[in-house]
Symmetry: C2
Subunit: 409 residues, 2 copies
């Protein structure tokens, strides 16, 4: 008998009909003898409806009141799911974040969980009940309602799993697992049976929008095994866990991730002296623009070029900020491009294997694809290429690293 935390997102509970389907899945786990804690999001569309009301009410809604408003979305879902389960004869109890004392800091709209009181949940589980907890919300020490930020229901699931020392935190979504790359780009993409937290982080941050990054970080930190499954289709999904597991075969490369939402900017002729990178980049951070890849090459004749990528929505604003900064530090022109895409190969296996980068660059060269930027981490190599090459590059790399479905069988 295991203890599972099962999280269902907005699409999975979009209608009462779907909530009934979720109830049947949850009830099936209980029928197998497992204890189940369920975390649910707001019915899809509901959060947007509430945000619409808030916008009508105020140009800049008070964050405290925004949380009071938005937290009702999940509260509706927990009540409906509990009703459906009770109607099926399965004992269940619903709780808001505040009721199970998911205590957070006071950062309304993006609060962080500090503690969870497991007493009430334990008592219900002992009594044979399914416990249903509203995702995405908590409460401050003072009893003010907080939210964890949009999509934060995954984090609630992982935090509950950690607090309860659950055997698995199962995240039910509309995909049946994590794939070696986006199947819409490469139909031969394979569902992975397992993946490590680190790999998942790299995959997630690069655009495989299956899981919230924070939830994966959290799960890794507290060593909570995460499983991504489909709500609508039976199957084992993908298990995300520590890489120390014996049985885990470690392929060289786990997957090919990509991100079409970035833009590239370059500041030319930056005086090559200590602190210069920060004097160029600080104004960007101060403008609340998030920077992804940063590349600085070895300089020549006392200057260097600084290149980085930002979200495409921030492109124009970034150029403005940088032009001012460049003038201040006596740098040269600021250039940029939006017709680019970032492609990454990800895998813990590359740690102990040389030659991954070589094979990657070779594969791209063989297809005549010019690399505009390179950046590497311990388990990832990312390149920026012209966006028209996206599909070609992903498919070529997918095959080159033996990820195609044929080679897997």
């Amino acid at each position: 008998m295991a203890l599972y935390v099962q999280k269902f997102g907005g699409t999975s509970v979009a209608t009462v009909e779907r909530i009934k389907h979720v109830a049947s899945k949850v009830a099936a786990s209980r029928a197998q003898g497992h204890k189940v804690v369920v975390v649910v999001s707001a019915m899809s569309g509901e959060t947007d409806r509430l945000i619409g009301l808030a916008r009508e009410a105020s140009a800049q809604p008070e964050p405290r009141e925004m949380d009071v408003l938005l937290s009702t979305g999940e509260q509706v879902t927990i009540a409906l799911l509990a009703m459906v389960l009770e109607q099926m004869g399965v004992p269940a109890r619903s709780y808001t974040g505040g009721q199970v004392r998911i205590v957070t800091d006071e950062a309304h709209g993006k609060a962080r969980i500090q503690s969870i009181d497991r007493e009430r949940i334990d008592a219900d589980l002992e009594a044979g009940r399914i416990v249903i907890v509203a995702g995405f919300q908590g409460v401050t020490e003072d009893g003010d309602i907080t939210t964890l930020g949009r999509g934060g229901s995954d984090t609630t699931g992982v935090a509950l799993a950690a607090a309860l020392k659950a055997d698995e935190c199962q995240i039910f979504t509309d995909v049946d697992g994590v794939y070696t790359t986006d199947p819409r780009v490469e139909p031969r993409a394979r569902r992975m049976t397992r993946i490590t937290f680190e790999e998942m982080l790299e995959m997630a941050s690069l655009g495989s929008k299956v899981l919230q990054i924070r939830a994966v970080e959290f799960a890794g930190k507290y060593r909570v095994p995460l499983r991504v499954l489909s709500t609508f289709q039976d199957g084992p999904g993908t298990l995300i866990s520590l890489d120390e597991e014996d049985e885990m075969e470690q392929p060289l490369i786990s997957g090919i991730a990509f991100n079409r939402d970035e833009a590239q900017v370059t500041v030319k002729g930056v005086p090559d002296q200590p602190g210069i990178a920060s004097s160029v980049l600080s104004p960007v951070g101060q403008a609340n623009i998030e920077v992804d890849m940063i590349v600085q090459n070895v300089g020549s004749d006392g200057t260097t070029d600084l290149t980085f990528t930002v979200h495409r929505n921030d492109y124009e604003r970034t150029l403005d900020v940088l032009r001012a900064a460049a003038e201040r530090v006596g740098a040269g022109a600021v250039l940029g491009a939006v017709d680019i895409v970032k492609i990454s190969v990800v895998g813990v296996g590359m740690r102990s294997h040389a030659g991954i980068a070589g094979r990657m660059f070779e594969t791209l060269a063989h297809e005549g694809i010019n690399i505009r930027m390179i950046s590497t981490s311990e388990i990832k190599i990312s390149v920026v290429v012209e966006d028209k090459y996206l599909e070609l590059a992903v498919r070529a790399l997918h095959a080159a690293f033996g990820l195609d479905i044929e080679t897997a069988i």
Copy 2:
């Protein structure tokens, strides 16, 4: 500087536009130097939407979960109102019933308030903030969400006013006060400046649906002055208070109430012996049918007739229950009529004045209206007449007791 509890119902907060109007009224009270605690209902339509979802989820929704669901309605309104006020530069804080510890018993769906923790409210008022509390909801000692039953926001307002020893509990509705009778029936009906709790109870229970009966009882018990005002139209409204007030002129009759929703049933030839009324009526109560007027006349030849009124929706069910009961006790036929209406004259003044009943019956006789049933209390005389006489009877009585607008000026 006074402390007011101001309650706004569902129609008053039906849209964000109307919530802005409510905010301006609340802010105006504060600008006059008053402390204000606001109680709001769910936006009109919202509770019905939630009930619809619950019905889809379960044929018999768990009462505990129903309360978790329904309480979100008011939570949305408090957040929106707080946002609007803050946007106007008026400091405000919203609270759910649980957050200000409106502790109730565990009767989900019809819970009764046991205590309120004023500490947090006092602190906010001291800090110059408007305090916004979700109506209709509370929390058990264990932290489970409860609701006071539909329309219970009035009760929340009165309970808060009592706990805070407020100067007035102001109930804002879509009418501008309590009238001597329904103006749609008698255009010469007058808005009353004042009315006693007892009179208001009789008026309310007889169909002047301005205020929740429970709220009026509660206000009377805790001597909280209640004022009924219009959200949409400025004016002093009607003050409902104790009748000991010196300045209160005491008219003989305060108003004419009526109820079109009743049906009359009679059990003929009931054996005239102790306990017989209860053996006929108990099965009705057990079937959860509420009985209003009950009349039993002095019997003859060892039997008597028992007549009473029930809600028209319960008429057929009542007949079924009574036929079975009549057979058991050896009574005669069970008869009934739905084409009836109850009309009452109400006034604390009648306590000390004989002849009110005489004038009432005389007035009706003069119009050729036959009385089918009479019942009296200390401050009310009710008659049942054929429903086609409703308008005629109300207008005749309204004039006969000097309530017409001309005589008032």
